[in-house]
Subunit: 206 residues, 2 copies
């Protein structure tokens, strides 16, 4: 069990309707220690991957994206969800359905903030159906930039987003993957994650 | 001229309608170096002030709040702007008019994340009429917590928010205060900020 799975067991709860409530440390109140550990864990898992920009979507992804930007020392961009009055520039636009808010959101980034030379690490707090991730990928491709990887705090493994993204060839790393959860018994099962062999280990396990 | 005033001159622009556009480093793309410097500057300006929670409002305040939470090693809470479907707990609720989006927002925090023992440093990217800041103060008071201070990246000194908050007795620190700006000439004037005498200086200026 890793630090995030442990934190979920300690402080999360399951609500009716397949909702994992973790807003005491992840997406309303932010536990800085957990966020820092996530940033280090993403950096470890994406070792050797070229990254010169961190991309997320407002609002819950911004905290982890900021600490990851701090660790990589690269700019962070957060995609916005609605056209604001003081934003009249050219934008890359996409759409994502929000199951939480039950509506279709426009998702956009002002063009100057994504470029063809960008190697983008996309991060977000949750991955379920992959709507937000696919919108962000779409924006990256519109800018002719490249997706270096997708880092997720909690993946809902019962939903299809993670499988689809991996089938499409993206390098997806989710720190905790919920295989199943049960509201009535408040039980949760995490997917075992394979420890990938290193490409150039200095030592081998004897 | 401090680092943020310099950054505004270098990379900001003035748009028609009294809009200072700084989304290349502050509220769309995030320049991590500037954010880090802001966190250190707030910590310096609020030296000696008790802080055990950082509070902001989604979305643009989250990046600076996160780095400040990292520096103080305390939890960060961001107030949300609309009632989400997966949030049914008791909440502290307030309201703030958004001039950017031209609508009244509900602003809320789930009750467990603000407590009477909290000494709250409120931070945000902008202060104009003080709508958001007053909503956050209202939430802090509903929880019977105390406002330790209010840290703002850019205060629009032509608007009344800063003056009202200071008149109310709050310790407001704005890293850059725009005294006036002119769209046609693209000129901006910052307010001179007094260097406050330290309460217990070890050395004096001879």
């Amino acid at each position: 069990m890793n630090f995030l799975e442990e934190k979920i067991l300690l402080e999360g709860s399951i609500k009716e309707g397949n909702i994992l409530k973790v807003d005491c440390f992840l997406n309303h109140q932010i536990d800085i220690d957990i966020m820092r550990q996530m940033a280090y864990e993403f950096k470890r898992r994406f070792r050797g991957v070229e990254v010169n920009k961190i991309l997320t979507i407002e609002a819950s992804g911004i905290a982890i994206a900021t600490l990851l930007g701090d660790l990589y020392d690269v700019p962070v961009v957060f995609a916005k969800k609605s056209v604001t009055a003081n934003s009249t520039d050219d934008k890359y636009m996409s759409q994502a359905y929000s199951f939480t808010h039950k509506k279709m959101n426009n998702v956009f980034i002002s063009k100057p903030y994504l470029n063809a030379t960008d190697r983008v690490l996309i991060v977000d707090d949750f991955l379920a159906d992959g709507q937000a991730a696919h919108a962000l990928i779409d924006l990256v491709h519109q800018a002719e930039a490249k997706v270096s990887g997708i880092g997720i705090a909690i993946e809902k493994g019962q939903q299809q987003g993670g499988r689809i993204l991996r089938d499409e060839g993206y390098h997806v790393e989710s720190i905790a993957i919920v295989e199943s959860m049960d509201w009535e018994t408040q039980t949760i099962k995490f997917r075992e994650q394979p420890v990938l062999p290193l490409s150039n280990p200095k030592l081998s396990i004897g």
